[in-house]
């Protein structure tokens, strides 16, 4: 499986596959091939629970092709629990900012043609 396919499979389980540097311990998304901090190549797979809090987001009304039927929807950036890592994803059913306060709890729930799917907890 390619690196991206592994991310997709883990998202379908509600998890996030990450890479922990075996040299310095820094945690990355699993698409990293070399450590951001020390440059070394050895990684240990760490499967995180796909839970976190919304760091920022937007509600999209003018959508790229393929997404028109989902508008309005949110593109969200989520800070993972117990980590400095953030992950982006698609969140359905968000129409106004009142629907999604920054800091609210959310989780990865799948992957489909809308990318990584994130829902409110």
């Amino acid at each position: 499986m390619s690196v991206e396919e592994q991310v997709i499979e883990s998202a379908k389980q509600g998890k996030l596959l990450t890479h922990k540097c075996t040299n310095c311990g820094y945690l990355h998304l699993s698409t990293a091939y070399y450590c951001l901090k020390c440059g070394s190549k050895g990684f240990e797979d760490v499967l995180l629970e796909g839970t976190g809090t919304i760091a920022t987001y937007t509600i999209i009304t003018v959508a790229p092709a393929g997404f028109e039927k989902y508008t309005p929807y949110a593109f969200v950036v989520m800070l993972l629990d117990n980590s400095q890592l953030r992950i982006s994803g698609f969140m359905a059913g968000i129409a106004t900012p009142a629907d999604l306060p920054v800091g609210i709890k959310a989780k990865i729930t799948g992957f489909d043609e809308r990318g990584i799917i994130i829902e409110k907890q």
């Binding site: 991310v7 937007t58 959508a63 790229p64």
Partner: protein, 384 residues
């Protein structure tokens, strides 16, 4: 290192143009050649920035341009770095003259996309994001900058009206620029009532999709002196990068590549942000201009909106930001924008900017980035 000068500059009008991409590329280049007072055979090579040539059925534009200029045997290089392509083409030409490889080069940027319509452009521009994480999850470019805007509103004392003031200012400046795409005076109320594109950004927070081409002639100081005419010096040049996806950045309200590129440019020039008289910055969205002016060191982090509120970035105030009207009002033909900024600086520093002249300006800065600032180049110029 050879001292590098800009000897001539030219642009087409920005907006919705009917001529082909090859035509507008040539029109801008001829304008630059004539502005420089040289002939095409003085040009040893060219650097051509363009992103979506495929939209007008012409990629590999360089050789087409060189053929039309009567110098088909001279080399050209096409450069893509998303919305930051122009400043990278400029940088490559700068570096080649500085290194002594050439004494006179052409850098031309071009984009022709408005005929494709909003859906095509929204879709294809999203391919400039880190697609696996962002575009694939439905992020548009307005959406990515809207995410930065939401983070800024959350973190700092800022309002959507503050962002709207940036658009109002740039439209005011654009009214004084005959080549600007948008000649339209707007109010904060107009911005606030315009349709939401990606909340909290509304239509008038966003720059338009534009067609256009811009071109400059770069040369060694020796060449500039021998050929007479007005020229300016390039005294600083820097490039930088950021994590491609917003999620990977330490702060969601800072663009690291801007800091890296500008610090390198200031260092080369031996200047600090206080020495800059005016700047053309990458205001693809109103939030971007606020963040840019902080990352470039003009204001403290979180204070960019305060400066906007106090009108400190208006034409001929503390620091004139985007006297041309910026991407917001002058327009954003993405492959041309970075070169177009240099055209504005050339016009400003050689007394050709008309009503929008920044008074007594000696030092100008250009700041242009690709995507959400994943790549960036900054240049600093001085009048002679």
């Amino acid at each position: 290192m050879e001292k590098v000068c800009v000897l001539g500059a030219g642009s087409t009008k920005y907006g919705k143009l009917s001529d082909s991409i090859a035509d507008i590329t040539t029109q801008a280049s001829v304008a630059a050649i004539e502005s420089a007072g040289i002939g095409p055979k003085d040009i040893k090579a060219s650097y051509i920035s363009n992103v979506f040539g495929v939209a007008d059925r012409q990629v590999h534009i360089g050789p087409v341009l060189m053929s039309r200029l009567g110098i088909p045997e001279r080399p050209s290089l096409s450069i893509e770095s998303a919305c930051g392509s122009g400043s990278v083409a400029f940088r490559e030409a700068f570096a080649n003259i500085a290194a002594g490889f050439y004494d006179c080069l052409l850098a031309t940027g071009v984009e022709k996309v408005t005929h494709t319509g909003t859906e095509w452009t929204t879709t294809y521009f999203a391919y400039c994001s880190d697609f696996f994480y962002e575009g694939q999850a439905g992020a548009s470019f307005p959406g990515l900058f809207a995410s930065m805007a939401r983070a800024y509103l959350t973190e700092f004392d800022a309002t959507e009206e503050d962002f709207a003031k940036v658009a109002v200012k740039n439209h005011d400046n654009g009214l004084l620029n005959p080549k600007a795409h948008m000649h339209k005076k707007i109010t904060v109320d107009d911005v606030m009532k315009s349709a939401v594109v990606a909340s909290p950004l509304k239509l008038f927070d966003c720059c338009p999709f534009s067609d256009g081409a811009s071109s400059v002639i770069l040369c060694s100081e020796k060449f500039a002196k021998e050929h007479g005419g007005d020229y300016i010096e390039v005294i600083g040049s820097g490039r930088g990068g950021s994590p491609a996806a917003l999620q990977g950045r330490e702060q969601l309200t800072t663009i690291p590549s801007t800091k890296i590129a500008s610090e390198a440019a200031y260092k080369m020039a031996g200047l600090t942000p206080k020495d800059i008289d005016f700047a053309e910055v990458h205001d693809c969205f109103t939030i971007a201009e606020v963040v840019d002016t902080e990352d470039l060191g003009f204001f403290e982090k979180g204070q960019g909106v305060q400066a906007v509120r106090e009108d400190r970035t208006k034409l001929n105030s503390d620091i004139s930001i985007n006297p041309s009207g910026g991407l917001k009002s002058k327009g954003h033909p993405i492959g041309a924008t970075g070169i177009g900024q240099v055209v504005e600086v050339y016009d400003q520093l050689t007394g050709k900017a008309g009503e929008r002249t920044v008074k007594d300006a000696k030092i100008g800065l250009t700041h242009n980035f690709g995507a959400t600032g994943a790549s960036c180049a900054v240049h600093i110029f001085q009048s002679v």
